[in-house]
Symmetry: C2
Subunit: 246 residues, 2 copies
Amino acid sequence: MIEKANKLEVCFSPIQFPLFETDNKIVVVTDILRATTVITTMFMNGVKQVLPVRFIEQAKEMKQKGMIVVAERDGKKLDFADFGNSPYYFTRDVVEGKSLVYSTTNGTHALTLGVNSKQVLVGCFLNLSSVAEYLKELKTDVLILCAGWKDKFSLEDSLYAGALSQKLLKGNGFFTKCDSANASIDLWEKAEKDLDSYLEKVAQKHRLQKLGLHDVIPYCFEQDKTRIIPYMEFSKDGNSALIKQR
Amino acid sequence: MIEKANKLEVCFSPIQFPLFETDNKIVVVTDILRATTVITTMFMNGVKQVLPVRFIEQAKEMKQKGMIVVAERDGKKLDFADFGNSPYYFTRDVVEGKSLVYSTTNGTHALTLGVNSKQVLVGCFLNLSSVAEYLKELKTDVLILCAGWKDKFSLEDSLYAGALSQKLLKGNGFFTKCDSANASIDLWEKAEKDLDSYLEKVAQKHRLQKLGLHDVIPYCFEQDKTRIIPYMEFSKDGNSALIKQR
């Protein structure tokens, strides 16, 4: 018996997300530098749950209510927040058993877009193989959503999309007719040969460098540090969400 | 004296166009399969001018007024139109000295987006070097706009963006910090090594194949067949446009 292969697509920008049918798909959201890497790190270090919050005002309100708030815009920590957006801040002693509020430039918005899809997963290089294996087990169509930079294309997210697509297309479980998926694989195949020098092209690397925050970059491209897959849990009305761990 | 290099950016989809500042830029619009290739071919064969029209109803009206109408949606010629969208239709005996009305799925909309930019050029592989040389002379910032497929990313337009970017970045005239520009160059560098087999990945190739219209594809990737650069001439109110030849 031949099993029907599942469809794989890649969306390069949140602004294009509404162009894709996602009701019966799993959406893997990625924001390599840095949101999905940071969220995964939080769970690796035992965070209980993360509340992604799109708007700064919401994050402020939650701070006033006494919650721990991580908030960043254009790479920089917001004044009122407890933490900026480096994965290095969220060690076990800081996050274990805690609930964190989280708001960033691109990632937290992208994470909420798949509210009507089957499931939204948090993907990054740290859990690359784990996500790939889980998706292969589930036998569902998949859309990889790149958080990008302010609705523009971003290389680092596309590289992840390529790395994950490459894994999914090995074997017969998935097929793609999606130009973005094919492009992302080509970009990843080129980049992975010499990742360090390839990353010189990445605009977000230079943005972080200007802010003195580029020490996180090698870590953000480390593969398979964990089996943990954070996922989105939406409220019934779809107006709020939590990130939990499966 | 060091001349200031000009900025080069690539926009992968019309839906992202408003994210770019374009007031002081030249916009090069490309829709390789097939609008910008077809328009360039029309001018190579002596067309007087082309009226790009976004909506089918407008094209119908113009047909009723007795004009020659080229109109296609999803690759197929519309019933009321005189011609579909193959470059092979527009031989010299058909188009010389004539005005044509032109409406396609992606290209005609993309062509009008740069109404507030300095200039909008029609780019394709047929006039690749000519466009590159003209842009180098002008010393203006450039945005290459890919028409894409229904606001999604398309490989063939990105390949052209890469080919043109590669030419522009040779020498000191242009620089880029744009992830899409860098990605497009990598894609082109991979594709040009064996273009025929690379094109197997292109979704639009398969769409055209299904319609029996894929005989045009090799032609659409032929480089430097002409020095002609069609450009957009917008009315003062910006509500209508003509394509002319420089």
